[in-house]
């Protein structure tokens, strides 16, 4: 067992967990934040994407112990009270989901890519969005409305 401490969604948390605990297990089973999903458990699908120290990573392929001390944001940490994050709002407005299983990972990847592109000044084109979504699999939508949602959010966040 190892004592793991992190800041998750602005809250300091600490738990004793076995050394082989994955970050996604820590988040879902120890912290009971079940917005982060496990789809494939083999690093392909991206339903488990969270932000660790500002970077989007796959929490099913990261040990909790290896990010001890980190600052983590999950999908539950994006909204400001009842006000949705612009990316969440855009997914709602553009029907960017059907069953919704992949959506937490899509939204975490989307917020990360928008932040990276806006920081570098590079244009987040439709082609760039599709390329950036290589690590997120959706089996319902055919991706079109997900891409539209991200374009919409990126435009609104650029003007914000």
């Amino acid at each position: 067992m190892t004592k793991i401490s992190m800041t998750v969604n602005d809250k300091a948390v600490s738990r004793d967990v076995p050394d082989n605990t994955l970050l996604v297990e820590f988040i879902r089973e120890n912290l009971r934040l079940t917005g982060t999903h496990v789809g494939c458990d083999t690093s392909q699908c991206g339903a488990c994407v969270v932000h660790v120290d500002g970077k989007a990573i796959k929490s099913c392929t990261t040990l909790a112990a290896s990010v001890d001390g980190a600052t983590v944001t999950t999908v539950e940490g994006l909204a400001n009270g009842k006000e949705l994050h612009p990316v969440q709002q855009a997914f709602k407005d553009n029907h960017g989901l059907q069953c919704g299983f992949c959506t937490p990972g899509m939204i975490m990847s989307a917020t990360d890519m928008i932040a990276r592109y806006q920081a570098s000044g590079e244009e987040l084109t439709e082609a760039a969005i599709r390329h950036e979504l290589e690590g997120n699999i959706c089996r319902c939508t055919g991706y079109h409305n997900i891409v539209k949602s991200i374009q919409d959010a990126a435009a609104k966040m650029a003007n914000a």
């Binding site: 082989n20 994955l22 690093s43 990847s109 690590g135």
Partner: protein, 264 residues
């Protein structure tokens, strides 16, 4: 995943010492290959020694004609480094096409080459650019480091700490990624270096990354895609699996090599 004991190493010396004391230790870096392997119970190290917080293994520096990249540097940092983009754009582009963005945020150069997956991208960069692999005990030319499928010259407990890439006069990498895994079905690094023309192929060979000598000779006399028109790749030396036959990969090597030369 089987039980394991986690250690966070503070320095390279600390990591080597901790690993030596354990029954059956594995070094953990980004974990993008090791953790999936452990989850499938294909690996069950008694101890994991985490290298990812070791400051001396991080970062990128350019001095003269050499780019030195710490083994713990994630792919995303190599891809996004202005220094690498200016000195060896082919290397930055290669790093920017490994896996997907979340994998690139965690996976590291040292982890990739120490694993030496026959379809990984970095081995082609190291061999094609004539890199030097620096470990905690010695330095090795890339040609002496890669020894076949998932095999390297690394001794028990040895740690890759950095890789030094000489800046080529020009280079490019082209890969045909497997549409599902993003690993290379065939990836070819072509480079004009102080050591002559080098062509390194990953993803296709049945013994891991290799230099394509016939292509090197052809490009040495005429640096153009046309020079490769009559150069063949022996299908007997290629991998064959559910994703593509040996003949298919042999053909793909030629196509990728031409694309690389055209974009260099």
């Amino acid at each position: 995943m089987f039980d394991t004991t986690y250690h966070r190493a503070a320095s390279v010396a600390d990591a080597a010492e901790t690993a030596a004391k354990a029954d059956d230790a594995a070094y953990l870096s980004g974990g993008q290959t090791l953790l999936p392997t452990m989850k499938q119970r294909l690996a069950s190290p008694s101890d994991l020694v985490d290298l990812s917080q070791i400051a001396e293994m991080q970062g990128i520096s350019v001095a003269g004609d050499t780019v030195t990249i710490g083994a713990g540097t994630p792919h995303a940092d190599v891809a996004g480094s202005t220094d690498v983009q200016n000195a060896i754009p082919a290397l930055a582009a290669l790093a920017g096409n490994i896996g997907d963005p979340a994998v690139r945020a965690r996976g590291t150069l040292g982890g990739s080459i120490a694993n030496n997956d026959p379809a990984a991208d970095y081995p082609a960069a190291c061999l094609g650019l004539n890199a030097t692999i620096v470990t905690n005990t010695r330095e090795l030319a890339a040609a002496d480091f890669f020894e076949g499928l998932f095999e390297t010259a690394l001794e028990e407990g040895e740690i890759v700490t950095a890789v030094r890439f000489p800046v080529p006069s020009r280079a490019a990498y082209a890969k045909f990624p497997n549409p599902a895994s993003r690993y290379a079905m065939a990836g070819v690094m072509v480079a004009q270096t102080g050591d002559g023309v080098r062509v390194a192929v990953t993803g296709a060979g049945n013994d891991g990354v290799f230099r394509h000598e016939a292509m090197e000779a052809a490009l040495g006399t005429n640096w153009s895609a046309d020079a490769l028109a009559d150069v063949s790749t022996d299908a007997d030396d290629m991998l064959s699996d559910m994703h593509g036959s040996a003949e298919y990969r042999a053909h793909l090597v030629g196509v990728m090599a031409k694309r690389a030369v055209e974009s260099a």
